[in-house]
């Protein structure tokens, strides 16, 4: 996900008014390595780090149109902005009843899954550690599991955590939203929506060398950020309370 990269940056400037909330104290917030504002950045998959960032697209009255958990590639983010715009037209329209609007909300979210470009789907596979977490802890309850039998009794042990055994993040996020209708942001259950994978997400970007390898000794010295680490962060006298330089900006 990158808000400063095109085409996301232009779309944000042209079609949205932007705001942000620090969720460090929220019960659903995860943990991350702490990064200063000259930290390195790496590209990751769509939906990585769902506990650490959630991006809401709202109508101007605060009604939820679309939500993305974790990071998203800029072109995929803009694609989802297009759906938000379509849903905003439905929500603002006088030609539908409230029940019809809610039905359209579900239908349009589910239909959008099939419209996603192949490249977008490829960018949306679960991180390996998140797939393993879902498989080990929620094999028969997680909505990310596409083939529980293949995980439980793999023909090839090396394929136990294969991405084909799991749904992609671009699919599940729309499926989860389709269980909702139009609803106020204040009523939206963020914890349930962003509940997948490990609580901690950190690519150790600031310890990464230009060749992409991580200096593990340096990584061990980088403090963490998140609810468990709030006190430690407050004791550091600067304004560098940031996390995961994963092309957010």
């Amino acid at each position: 996900m990158s808000l400063s990269q095109e085409p996301a940056f232009s779309a944000l400037k042209n079609y949205f008014v932007c705001g942000t909330k620090d969720i460090t104290d929220e019960p659903y917030a995860g943990e991350s390595g702490r990064h200063d504002n000259f930290g390195n950045a790496v590209v990751t998959t769509n939906g990585a780090g769902p506990h650490n960032i959630q991006m809401f697209m709202l109508s101007s009255d605060g009604t939820v149109l679309n939500v993305l958990p974790g990071y998203w590639a800029p072109q995929d983010l803009v694609y989802e902005m297009g759906l938000a715009n379509q849903l905003n037209r439905v929500w603002m329209s006088n030609q539908y009843t409230r029940a019809q609007k809610d039905q359209l909300f579900k239908q349009m979210h589910l239909a959008h899954i099939a419209q996603h470009p192949k490249d977008m789907v490829r960018r949306s596979h679960l991180q390996g550690f998140d797939a393993k977490y879902e498989g080990e802890n929620k094999l028969h309850t997680s909505d990310f599991i596409r083939n529980a039998a293949a995980i439980e009794h793999p023909a090839n042990p090396n394929q136990k955590w294969a991405s084909s055994n799991f749904k992609t993040t671009d699919e599940v996020m729309h499926e989860r939203l389709a269980t909702h209708g139009f609803e106020r942001y204040e009523r939206f259950d963020v914890a349930a929506f962003s509940d997948y994978g490990k609580q901690r997400y950190d690519k150790m970007e600031d310890a990464m060398r230009s060749d992409g390898h991580v200096d593990m000794e340096k990584a061990a010295t980088i403090p963490s950020l998140g609810k468990k680490h709030k006190q430690a962060s407050e004791n550091i006298d600067d304004d560098r309370k940031h996390w995961g330089n994963t092309f957010l900006h």
């Binding site: 400063s4 779309a11 932007c18 000259f38 304004d239």
Partner: protein, 76 residues
Amino acid sequence: MKSKFALCLAALMALFVPAQSRQPAYLGGQTAHDRITAMASELHWNQSLGQVEQSAREQGKMVFWVHMLGSMTGAT
């Protein structure tokens, strides 16, 4: 609004997506910092949802509201 948005969206994608596909998987700290600075100079990130909604109504826009660990200004 719908057709205008769709046209602009298509234009944005056509203009920028090919370049995106060539982007590196790694960005050095100075480059990341420069991007942050450029974005912050052009996009204001309000921390009051009420104010954001009011501005969106006045400008006929939608709201983009980001939950994140830490702060938007400076880095992520």
